[in-house]
Amino acid sequence: MSGSLTDEILTELAQAIEIPDGAYEAADGRYQDLGGWLNDDSKSQSARYQPLVSPQGSFRLGTVTRLWKRDDYDLDVALNLQEGITTKSVTQYQLKQLVGTDLNLYRAERQIQEKLEEKHRCWRLKYQDQLQFHIDTVPCIPQAGDVKAIIQERIIQAGTGPLLAHDIASYAAAITDDRHVSYQRISDDWYTSNPEGYARWFESRMKMARGLLESRALQARVGHIEDLPAYRWRTPLQMAIQILKRHRDIMYERDLDRKPISIIITTLAAQAYRGAFELSATLEEILRNMQVDYVSPQILNPVDPRENFADRWNTPDGRRLQLKENFHAWLKQAQRDLGMLLSASDYGVLREHAQKRFGVFVKESAYGRPTANQSPAIHVIRDAPPKPWRR
């Protein structure tokens, strides 16, 4: 099958798993409404600390996939109280409660029926309308300057250029976690999280296709690609990650707790990407370069290389769920399934494959008739085959 036809089919696949039109805008509306309310000092206690609400995770990166046998989208937002609070002045518990009180007031004012739900690191707000969202709000404050400097140094040591490393480290935040030993005490060793830094790193990987992004900016009539939210960049890297995540969702639809997590897929794919413009070439690059050592797996967080995403594989829980084996099983299967899409000469096989492995119905009319018919090898049954029997 020709390269352009493969790309057409892959693009159709990517479009089919893209979230519905307007869902990103709806998500934007949700967190901006929350941000506006939190900045109103007649209503919110947080307002005096310059709250900044920003999306994180796949909504920030533009890699959300259409729901697959799940109820609602998970919109993660960081609520950063940028001024007036430090790890020396409040405990993690106090910060979590301060934000929780505000979110409860917000919930009442917006008439959200479901109760606010407390998670280890965030508050969950569930919307009951046609948009099927829940928002996980992570309370945080800017990380201390000396911690940022250490992080910056480690990012540079891991091979990132100093300018980008400085930019990434500047977004490092201190977060609350009710499993932390000093959760209810003043301490300066809060956990670090850096979703915005991660997004900046991810953007730097997408920018390897510079020419492509320049044309996207031109089409959108903006001066720079940064003037557009990442979900409107529509790069082959984003599409490739969406395809990989959908493949994972289907393979693990009955074993959710064993599935490779999105941050691992996204990080490895972005690291494996070399700047291809075409989706087929991007997937080939990613699948060729996406490797994790089986004996000592290392998937370092690019914005905090102290953190190895594969560490959980070696915990009692990770071993019980065979997370390492499952990651390798998924990767092998993804390589095989995408390899088949990229090289299929039989259109019927390709459609069946797209449906079974990616949950996408590829339209027949668009690509005409099969170009070849791949038949399985013929087995000759000789000797005495076993006779069927029933216990």
């Binding site: 099983a329 092998k332 076993p386 006779k387 029997w389 029933r390």
Partner: protein, 239 residues
Amino acid sequence: MAPIISQGALGVEEFLRAYPGMGLRPIRDNRVELEGIFAFSAESDKHGRVTDKFELKIDIPNTFPKELPLVYELQGRIPREDRYHVNPTDHSLCLGSPLRLLTILAGVPTLTGFAARCLIPYLYAVSLKLDRGGEFAFGELPHGRRGEIVDYGDLLGLGTVNQVMKTISYLGMKKRRANKLPCPCQCGRRLGVCALNSRIRRLRQLAERAWFRQLLLDLSRIDSSKAGFHSAVRSGLRV
């Protein structure tokens, strides 16, 4: 250590290359599960060529090929009925008697070998039966333990139920001890010097003594006084 999914003994890679419609399922309890469209084309002198596909799940134990994979048909194309040899409890496909399948696997101890020699003949026969009706293309065994006894008599070249049972009891003993006992074929010599011993030796390679002891226990549970028993085995074995 190599990843479990590429361990040589299983031959998963080779199998998936040969049957690309099949794919890996999540790993659980060190077991590898494959699922997807199993497309095949096969022919025999008597019945001609069959090209067909079934949606299957194949559950491979980590002790394969010492233990047999379980195969399930997922779309319900194969009626879950006795006459199609589908296990009534878990709906796995009954491809053949366990010892027969293990004997075949010993010669081709890979998943592709299992597919070619154990699975495809069954699917070929089912496909013909679904299409044209009639009997199973290569014959079929009586259901339950009776069918097992008939098949083991055939495998061992023995003519009576008692001979089969005695031979299985010998397989559950240490070789040295069994060789000193009278041969189950009633030739009047001890087992150690009878030709049956070479067939028994091959079967010893397939499973542990405990497996044969359990088999004997299971087979002994058949109530041979039931009227159906005699008629069921009469075609293959004398009681």
